[in-house]
């Protein structure tokens, strides 16, 4: 039994913090805006539980079909993170996205005076 626990621990590796996942998600770029989804404020949460990375994201409007595109890109960004065995992405519209969620970095990239 003890040996089994050790095997699982070895498989899972060190715990993955939300910041680690968010760092990886900076690589997911909105193709039209050229800005990453973290700075756009589209990522509502990211965590790893029992080797499964769960990411909650939104789009700027529910009529935008990029949710499924983002799901694929997020999987690509996270599937090789140590101790992540699977990636599950939930697209949600609660709470609603607004420009207030954008970081200063994103605003600067889009020409806001920040």
């Amino acid at each position: 039994m003890a040996d089994e626990r050790m095997d699982v621990a070895a498989l899972l590796g060190r715990p993955v913090a939300e910041d680690d996942l968010l760092d990886r998600l900076h690589a997911v770029i909105d193709p039209e805006l050229g800005v990453n989804i973290v700075d756009l404020g589209l990522v509502y949460g990211a965590e790893v539980i029992d080797g499964v990375a769960r990411v909650r994201v939104t789009t700027t409007t529910p009529a935008c079909p990029l949710g499924s595109y983002m799901t694929g890109e997020i999987r690509r960004a996270l599937f090789d993170v140590d101790s992540v065995l699977d990636v599950q992405v939930e697209v949600t519209y609660e709470p609603r996205w607004s420009v207030d969620r954008m970081t200063d970095t994103a605003k600067a990239q889009l020409g806001w005076p920040v």
Binding site: E32, L33, T60, C64, Y69
Partner: protein, 368 residues
């Protein structure tokens, strides 16, 4: 998951058939020698391009966004309408299918409104209602030429609503929002008036189109992203060049009103439906197709080739052809436009096939 993706490919293929048939009809109208069965497509060219192709494509995009099975009724019925038209079925069948597709498209906006009520969604919903209105007018016996303002409203308001939404990311002010509503409102009033008075309605709508073009050129986030590189720059240049054609088209509507046939009519239609709408389609295809088909489509500099071909062809057609009266230029420009759309379709299909093969090797399939 695989079944859903296959269904989307199938629905996209229905739109693709509408596109190919619509382009065949374009060649007939350009006076190219075509075999007898293809000649009838000339009369259906406009409806095939706006509903058979664009209606299927846009409603498929919305169905993917909504993520509910019934949403796919819109592209299914619309695509089937295109096939029925091509097959020469009695007019009532394709028109009924287009009407059903429009109703499902409107229903999707009701669902979007329940998720999030907003100005940009409402503007697109009015565009969906314009498609429904066009379908009813066609069913009621109106000729496609009489329904042009309604078909234009479907496409212009759908696109303008999308751009209004994204313009929030470029620090949209309340004053700018009011300006948008004014331009879109004038356009809608003109479209509604066109049922009773085609000439006056189109002139009023033309004012709205010019106002919308100026608004979009000033407020769209493309003004910022055009300074970037790669895909954002390509999308932005597609959009901004499309706004120039929207302004040209709107000015033609204002100046010429309802002109049955002839060079002015050719310029009025194609500045909007080709110059504006197809620029948007070209710009957004590398973003929307991956979302619809689940296959990445990285930016390639060759995307500029079909965009340039579209604009050069349209300049030749409307400038040297429609304006200066050189029929050879009009025909050559029209053929270049057809070539641009075929190149776009072929280039997208090849790029998706290659990327799909590569991505299937690289990434494991989702577990659920």
């Amino acid at each position: 998951m695989a079944g859903l993706t296959a269904s989307r490919y199938g629905l996209l293929a229905l739109g693709g058939v509408g596109l190919l048939a619509g382009l065949t009809g374009a060649l007939v109208l350009l006076g190219m020698p075509m075999p007898a069965p293809a000649r009838d497509l000339g009369a259906d060219h406009g409806v095939l391009m706006t509903l058979g192709f664009l209606g299927t494509l846009i409603s498929l995009e919305r169905a993917v966004a909504l993520g509910r099975g019934w949403g796919y009724l819109a592209p299914l019925l619309t695509g089937a309408g295109g096939i029925a038209l091509i097959a020469g079925a009695p007019a009532v069948l394709p028109l009924t299918l287009f009407t059903g597709g429009a109703a499902a498209f409107v229903a999707m906006y009701v669902a979007f409104d329940r998720i999030e009520r907003s100005l940009h969604t409402s503007v697109q919903a009015v565009g969906a209602l314009a498609w429904l209105g066009a379908a009813f007018l066609l069913l009621g016996g109106r000729a496609p030429a009489e329904v042009v303002p309604w078909l234009a409203a479907f496409l212009v308001l759908t696109i303008a609503g999308e751009r209004l939404e994204l313009s929030r990311l470029a620090r949209l002010t309340n004053r700018a929002r009011i300006g948008f509503v004014a331009g879109a409102g004038i356009f809608c009033i003109g479209v509604a008036m066109s049922v009773a008075s085609a000439d006056m309605g189109m002139r009023v709508a033309g004012i709205g189109l010019v106002a919308l073009a100026v608004w979009l050129a000033r407020n769209d986030v493309a003004r910022r992203t055009v300074r970037m590189e790669g895909m954002p720059r390509f999308v932005a240049l597609s959009l901004l060049s499309g706004y120039a054609w929207l302004a040209v088209g709107g000015a033609c509507w204002l100046l010429f009103g309802a002109t049955p046939g002839g060079p002015a009519y050719d310029a009025m239609l194609h500045a909007i439906f080709l110059g504006f709408v197809m620029s948007m389609v070209f710009g957004h295809a590398p973003i929307i197709l991956p979302a619809v088909l689940g296959t990445p489509l990285p930016y390639r500099p060759r995307f500029y080739l079909h965009l340039a071909l579209l604009h050069v062809g349209l300049l030749l057609r409307t400038g040297a052809g429609d304006l200066l009266g050189f029929e050879v230029a009009w025909r050559a420009g029209g053929i270049l436009n057809v070539a641009a759309l075929l190149l776009f379709a072929a280039s997208s299909a090849v790029a998706i096939a290659l990327e799909r093969r590569a991505s299937l090797r690289a990434v494991p399939a989702p577990s659920s």
